[in-house]
């Protein structure tokens, strides 16, 4: 298990969740499961009706785009969930 820092934008978080938290997980899938189980994120906002990560959600590990949920996490990694926005 790796200890990583996670950034979650307001659009994904449940009301009282903080934007930055420390989570222990081996890979992205475990991390996302943990966020859902612990009431940090709203799973409906994260996944579509087929259980797939919504297309507008982009996951970055240390600033590099990584949408493979099997991606392995290492101690000290920064994992950010950024929602693409086109509104202008």
């Amino acid at each position: 298990m790796a200890k990583v820092e996670v950034f979650l934008p307001a659009l994904l978080r449940k009301d009282k969740a903080k934007s930055k938290i420390i989570v222990e997980a081996s890979n992205l899938k475990e991390l996302i499961d943990w966020l859902g189980r612990n009431g940090i994120v709203d799973n409906d906002k994260l996944f579509d009706s087929n259980g797939m990560l919504r297309k507008l959600i982009n996951v970055f590990i240390n600033g590099k785009l990584q949408n493979d949920l099997n991606a392995v996490l290492n101690d000290g990694d920064e994992v950010s969930f950024i929602l693409a926005v086109a509104g202008g």
């Binding site: 934008p9 307001a10 659009l11 297309k55 507008l56 982009n58 590099k64 086109a86 202008g88």
Partner: protein, 355 residues
Amino acid sequence: MQDFKRYARQIVLCGIDFEGQAKLMKAKVALIGLGGLGSPVAYQLAGMGIGHIRLIDRDIVSLSDLNRQYLYNPSNVGEFKAEVAAARLSEFNPEIEIVPYPLAVTEFNIEDLIKGCDVVLDTTDSIAARYIVNRACLKLGIPYIYGAGIENNGLVFTVIPNKTACLECLFPGLKDEDLPKCSNVGVNPPILSLVAGIQVSEATKIIMKKEPQLANRILILDLQNLSFDFMDVKQREDCSACRNPELHSENKHIHIFEESKGIFYIYPPSKIDLDLSKIENELRYEGMENIIRTKYSVRFKALEGALFNISKYGFAVVRYDVKNSGKENMKDLYLSIYEKILFKERKLEGAAAKL
């Protein structure tokens, strides 16, 4: 110096001074999108004295725009935004040059629209258009500033071609239907002013040859909790836009795109520059009503009360009664009017293609 008096309050800033102001006054900037973000961006660019501003937008003013799009008044409803904005900003700062382009950005016209600019600010509401602008900026080597806002949230990101991550390094492979729209989920007007101010700050830094703060770094704004978060981003080695930002340069077909029920856009074959006085005569001959011609467009009422706006570049917006929106032949009818008016004496290359 008389020319600088207007800008005295910004010239005293050590980050600008006379040298920076001179650069701003010589700068050429393209602003793409004149909605909620584009309005405050446009006012700030004009107010700060950017010497040449190209205003590009495909839309016409609607009543629901007026809570946040400060360039427009109720009397402008139904007019092309680009044209109204140019008139408003020319009054606001008569010392600068402002050129309106009432049309949609496409991969066929984007290079001509932004060529020669020092920086491009992207404030559109379409990811498809944003990808086109991003690629054209990469191809032409023009710095690109992405700004977006929805609900209480905003994003700002600066792209320096060949040096930093681009928009597609960050958000690849999206379609507009994948993303929420302001018309569905809403937008809080103050977030737009925040995003706009930061975009303009990035643009002026680039013009004055100073380091932008959001190259390889995205700013994530949240007005609800008033948080400003940053994330460093890296260029993707497999980014198709960075590797090959080619765009198609020629289009020989008319395309139509339905924005929503009762409104659609008509995209002309590339590089049209209409003589609007001739178009007006043609409209009168065809018996169209309520014809109003301006420097950059003509608008009129056609059959069944449909409202047409046609820009001098051949781009058209057609609004018609939603009761008729289910009738497939209405679009064909209006497309035929468009073709008849614009191409009566021209041989149109290729058949009209529908999207």
